[in-house]
Amino acid sequence: MAQSIGTFLSGFFLITVYSYLFKESRLYRYTEHIYVGFAAAHAIVTGWHNVKDQALSPLADGQWLMLVPLCFGCLLYAKFTKRYSYLSRTPLAFMMGVAAGVTITGAAEASFVKQIRATILPLNNLDNIVMVLGTVSTLAFFLFIPLGSKKAANGKRSFMSLVSNLGRATMMVAFGSSFGFVVMARLSYLIARLQFLFSKVFPVISQ
């Protein structure tokens, strides 16, 4: 019984959400508000579980070091008081430091050295030539500090600007292919919803 009510509600909300494609309606708005409300509630529950599982439970088991992240977490709430709001900057600074530190670790090797190594290819076939020229020209597109190019400063086309345009064109081709993947992904979402709607709510498709 509970399952059939759940299925019916899912189907109902699915149709109201898709109604947005035709026209924004009051039903769509209700669904949107209900969804935002549920999502907020879900976030609160999962947030609480994160704190409980990762800090409170270990603390109860005698891991006193967990007091440090807990205190840092509490300091974030100091933001809501005018007098002590400056205290919230400490945990924020800590989070920024961790984010920067983690990004640096491994990134140099995995995203720079190994990627350059993988792009060093003998220029003896079209694939390799496209790969090398595409990579080099795309890198050139992302040069931001002008190297005293008078031609560029005068608005004339320098060699670097030509290379950079080639880089831009390479990226646009890549974006086009990427867009194809997104069409594929979005159709998959539609198919999954239709499979649900017409096999569970209005059983037309056999599963």
Binding site: L21, N50, V102, M184, A185, S188, L190, Q195
Partner: protein, 279 residues
């Protein structure tokens, strides 16, 4: 005359397009058309790497998606899990998305009994860890991150972790993710432990991983729902993805036709304008 035709094809009411897409995708679901399914080299490579693993090998599988992305990734996760279980591999699921553990639980409830898999001995589910990249980087020091499983049972009480020292004992990492799990694994774990990584994920994330595949940091890619269907064919264990492939192909054909039509209209209109202006 031509101009009005060219303008018309570029300004078809989007509601008409939505309705047509709806019908074209729905029809093959009701009555399959039997379109051929080509196996891409990436999926084949992913399958071959997993298929070559000896029985009892330990596989870590990240579950990085929630209901908003499950249409593509859940069929992949089922196809991969069926293959793991049919080969007798030991599996550890680690959720990287807050909604991920319910899918690992679904595998535990629905799939594991079919293959006689026993929780704790043949497979385990770790708890979700918030943090994204830092959490995956922290897996390098495994026991500092994980001490209990999802149910709160200490890992030392689960036979699957007997003799497990850390990530150096893992034979393969696979993903089912709509996020950057694969990227984080390639950046933070692969250089340290040289564990092969096979990626399953949303089709949108796949172009980003191409360079990592070319450099060998990622060994294989299963892309979107189509990748899941290909995997089901290769592993000879049909699931929900194959059934959706006709609808997917029909949808692709329709959208390709629209793109061509829109472009023909655009160029025809531009030509007519140039003619009118006498250029």
């Amino acid at each position: 005359m031509r101009r009005s035709w060219a303008t018309a094809v570029q300004s078809i009411d989007r509601r008409v397009l939505y309705a047509l897409t709806f019908v074209i995708v729905l029809l093959p679901l009701v009555r399959p058309l039997g379109f051929p399914l080509n196996i891409t080299p990436n999926t084949r490579r992913a399958f071959e790497i997993i298929d070559a693993l000896p029985e009892g090998s330990l596989v870590f599988h990240s579950v990085g998606f929630d209901p908003s992305g499950d249409a593509e990734v859940w069929p992949q996760m089922q196809a991969l899990s069926r293959h793991f279980m049919s080969k007798g591999l030991r599996i550890v699921y680690f959720p990287t998305n807050v909604g991920g553990d319910m899918y690992a639980e679904a595998i535990r409830a629905q799939l594991a009994p079919k293959f006689g898999y026993e929780y704790g001995r043949d497979f385990a589910i770790l708890p979700f860890k918030a943090g994204g990249a830092p959490a995956i980087a922290a897996m390098a020091d495994f026991y500092s991150l994980y001490t209990v499983d999802r149910d709160g049972t200490p890992l030392s009480e689960l036979p699957i972790f007997d003799g497990f020292r850390g990530m150096q004992d893992v034979s393969l990492i696979t993903t089912s993710s709509t996020g950057d799990d694969a990227l984080f694994l390639a950046v933070y774990l692969e250089p340290k432990f040289h564990i092969p990584i096979v990626v399953g994920g949303a089709a949108t994330i796949m172009p980003v991983l191409g360079p990592y595949l070319a450099s060998g940091q990622i060994k294989g890619i299963i892309s979107g729902l189509a990748g899941a269907a290909e995997y089901e064919v290769l592993s000879e264990m049909p699931g929900q993805a194959i059934g959706a492939m006709d609808a997917q192909s029909a949808g692709h054909l329709f959208i390709a036709c629209l793109v061509i039509l829109g472009n023909v209209g655009f160029f025809a209109q531009s030509r007519a304008v140039r003619r009118k202006e006498g250029v």
